[in-house]
């Protein structure tokens, strides 16, 4: 019989990308199956789903057979898998493409595991030392207690290694501008020192970068690590590629382009971020797996074939995190053989699935 907590904790103490894919799948499948039993027992919606599809958990032998729930379902159903009395926090993610709000119930155990996981992943990129944390956003983004956007998630998650935090933007009448006094202070105090930064990709580009260039401000952060995420759709519309973005930002900070790190993540899988390695690939940590599925057949895609990204995770026992099908497209680049040395599946994000635009006469019944 597997002792879930000790198994998961053991995985969380290892180097995050040490497991080869086959070995990882074997370990995760065993853990996931136990978690599924718990989910079915504790949530009638999940029980409905399993019974209507005739799924026998004991007969699951491969990780790709774990039933996935589309990420949108967090907007319509309570997917809690633990006693409601144990819920300490409900993440409400506003998302970027819909008016509805996702609800992700968290218990103490899940929150702790998420923090451990994030620490483990970040340490692989920046070591264990606390550093000055520069947030390329305004301070209000971290104030809200009810809403939890991708921006908030990023700031809170990455602050785990923060010695001190500085917000480089300010909000005035709903508009973001440079927080020049803070920027001045940061330049004076920390130029040449070890710092790390986070921002929403589109805000970094459209607000921070453009205003920094306009005001001719430059930094001397040779060893900065700039983590950024989200908003690629808008950047693509502006014909800004990932490479161009990295070059532009590295020149602003006076650092190497390899220190500008794009990552992929979602509020429904808090605790896991998929950060670019030096080869530009996103790696999957020990406690998680990524399957790219053909959007039509739902079967796993071959290496290089674009499909829907599914994220599996063993971090939560408070909600169904075990297999979440995203509405993002990406492709697996390879398995176990990235030149960076990290083991497991490595992949790249391509785009969000565009909302279906019905061009024609077949339409709603509403007048």
């Amino acid at each position: 019989m597997i002792n879930l907590d000790s198994e998961i904790n053991e995985l969380l103490t290892k180097s995050p990308y040490i497991l080869e894919d086959r070995e990882k799948n074997q370990i995760l499948t065993g853990i996931l199956k136990i978690q599924l039993e718990n989910a079915v027992e504790n949530n009638t919606h999940i029980k409905n789903m399993f019974s209507k599809q005739g799924i026998d958990i004991s007969s699951i032998t491969k990780i790709e057979e774990i039933p996935q729930i589309p990420v949108q379902m967090f907007k319509y159903f309570n997917l809690s898998t633990c006693d409601s009395g144990n819920i300490v926090k409900i993440l409400r993610s506003s998302g970027t493409t819909s008016d509805n709000t996702s609800m992700v119930p968290l218990n103490k155990k899940t929150v702790l595991k998420q923090m451990k996981s994030l620490k483990q992943i970040l340490s692989d990129y920046m070591g264990n030392k606390r550093k000055i944390f520069l947030v390329i956003d305004h301070e209000g983004i971290n104030n809200s207690v009810s809403e939890f956007s991708a921006r908030t998630a990023g700031v809170r998650g990455l602050s785990i290694y923060a010695k001190d935090t500085y917000y480089l933007l300010k909000e005035e009448n709903g508009k973001l501008t440079l927080n020049e006094p803070v920027i001045k202070e940061v330049i004076e105090k920390y130029s040449g020192k070890d710092v790390y930064a986070f921002g929403f990709t589109y805000i970094i580009w459209s607000v921070f970068y453009k205003q920094i260039i306009e005001k001719d401000i430059s930094f001397a952060f040779n060893d900065i690590l700039l983590f950024h995420s989200g908003g690629w759709k808008k950047l693509k519309e502006e014909k800004v590629s990932k490479e161009f973005f990295s070059e532009a930002l590295s020149s602003v900070f006076n650092t190497d382009t390899g220190n500008i790190l794009d990552f992929y993540g979602m509020a429904e899988q808090t605790g896991i971020i998929f950060v670019d390695c030096e080869c530009g690939n996103k790696h999957v940590p020990n406690i998680s797996q990524v399957i790219v599925r053909n959007p039509y057949s739902l079967q796993p895609c071959a290496v290089g074939e674009i499909g829907m990204i599914e994220i599996l995770s063993i971090l939560s026992d408070s909600y169904y995190s075990q297999a979440i099908l995203t509405e993002d497209l990406g492709y697996v680049v390879g398995i176990d053989d990235c030149p960076c040395g990290r083991k497991g599946t490595y992949f790249r994000f391509s785009s969000r699935i565009e909302k279906a635009e019905i061009r024609g006469c077949g339409d709603t019944f509403k007048e």
Partner: protein, 430 residues
């Protein structure tokens, strides 16, 4: 103006050009429509009918969904019937004809018709062009890039049609010369406005947003606008029909109605309502699923927009997670049957995703009808009950009451419109 228009057919020549504006195109089409006007209507019908026969032999055309149907639709008898229903008298488009001994009447073409054709049905442009030809108008068709080859292949073939009638030779090149095929970015207001202002008549297909923006474009004061707007279709079955021998065959035909055009047409059924009968809804769903599974490969597996696939994944999950709902579906996303008893119409998902609902009485369904319901496939066994239901349903807003297997038949009137009679000016001579 940054004028980015591709013109694929002008003055009978099939070559890509980038015109500076639509005035030049309109001028040529307008000049060439005289030759079309001088062709007697029976000759035009003969040539279109000859084209119908050619479709079957053309390997490019006969593979396209809906083209076999189109070749049948172009039968001489059918075209004559269409003209009779629309004009009342086949001689009106050719000459003045007496009306009840009071005065004479003729149907004159409006001039140049500009057509905005939607992308969801590959042969929609062809069907629209036939109407402008039968009304002897010149046409400029804005065709979706992805469907332009279907129309151009059709017109290229049509241009080769020649017939002899009463010792006179006629060539369909005179028809084709009165047609121009263009494409441009519909969101470009300047180009769209220029296109619109050149029209004597506008024929528009599209969803709500497209229709509203086209209607807001400038137009000539005399311009007539015919709108085939967004519509919705569904089916009802009464218990007597469900329990009759006719049901099985109708269920199979309904599966094909849903599958045609990957459920993207305004005539595609989105919901099936079944009156309570001796059969459980789940059982009916499983039988319908069997017909989906046995659809011909080209109907079962059709290219589907990833956004629609995501919607199918989401709606399947919603029904799986919910109480009192069930799903019968293929392993892949080729077809999905969603079962519940909520008495309502559902937003279309498309991609062969159909909602099945049980109702106490088919009469309950009429309260759901809006003015946007295009076709209602009605399977009610008793003819009198069916006709009474049809009368009430059409009063509530439905345009067409049909039987399973005929929902996509291109009947005229369509959407409540007799298009040929609107594509002409009715002129009198006293």
């Amino acid at each position: 103006m940054n004028f980015v228009v591709k013109c694929y057919l002008l003055d009978g020549k099939f070559s890509e050009q980038n015109p500076d504006n639509f005035a030049a195109i309109s001028h040529i089409v307008n000049a060439n429509r005289r030759a079309l006007y001088e062709l007697p209507l029976p000759i035009i019908i003969e040539m279109l009918s000859a084209m119908g026969k050619k479709i079957i032999k053309n390997p490019h055309l006969n593979k396209i969904q809906g083209m076999t149907y189109l070749s049948l639709w172009l039968r001489k008898k059918n075209l004559e019937q269409i003209c009779r229903i629309n004009y009342g008298n086949l001689s009106y488009p050719d000459s003045f004809s007496k009306v009840e001994n009071r005065f004479k009447l003729t149907a004159q073409p409006r001039g140049v018709v500009c057509l905005w054709v939607a992308a969801n049905i590959p042969n929609l442009a062809i069907i629209s062009i036939i109407q402008t030809i039968l009304s002897k108008n010149g046409s400029i068709v804005k065709v979706p890039e992805e469907n332009k080859d279907v129309l151009l292949d059709f017109l290229q073939e049509l241009a080769t049609v020649e017939i002899s009638y009463d010792d006179t030779n006629y060539s369909a090149i005179d028809i084709v010369k009165a047609i121009s095929v263009v494409s441009f970015e519909g969101r470009n207001h300047e180009i769209s406005a220029d296109f619109s202002i050149n029209a004597d008549c506008r024929l528009i297909y599209g969803g709500s947003k497209a229709i509203q923006s086209i209607l807001a474009l400038p137009q000539k004061d005399h311009c007539e606008t015919i709108v085939y707007g967004p519509k919705y279709s569904f089916c009802v079955f009464d218990h007597a029909f469900i329990e009759s021998d006719l049901f099985e065959n109708s269920l199979e035909k309904t599966a094909k109605d849903i599958a045609s055009f990957n459920q993207m047409a305004c005539s595609s059924p989105q919901v099936l309502f079944f009156e309570k009968s001796k059969y459980q809804l789940q059982h009916i769903g499983e039988r319908l699923g069997g017909y989906f599974a046995n659809l011909p490969e080209d109907l079962r597996i059709q290219p589907t927009d990833p956004g629609i696939l995501a919607n199918i994944i989401n709606i399947r999950a919603k029904y799986l997670l919910s109480d009192d709902k069930s799903v019968i579906a293929s392993d892949d996303l080729s077809w999905t049957i969603l079962i519940d008893n909520d008495l309502r119409l559902e937003e279309p998902i498309h991609g062969k995703c159909i909602f099945l609902k049980e109702v106490d009485s088919v009469d309950n369904v009429t309260e759901l009808i809006t003015r946007k319901i295009q076709a209602l496939s009605v399977s009610i066994l008793d003819p009198e009950k069916r006709e009474n239901f049809a009368l009430e349903a059409t009063y509530c807003g439905v345009d067409r009451i049909v039987s399973p297997g005929t929902i996509h038949d291109y009947d005229l009137p369509w959407d409540g419109i007799l298009p040929l009679s609107r594509l002409v000016r009715w002129t009198i001579l006293k």
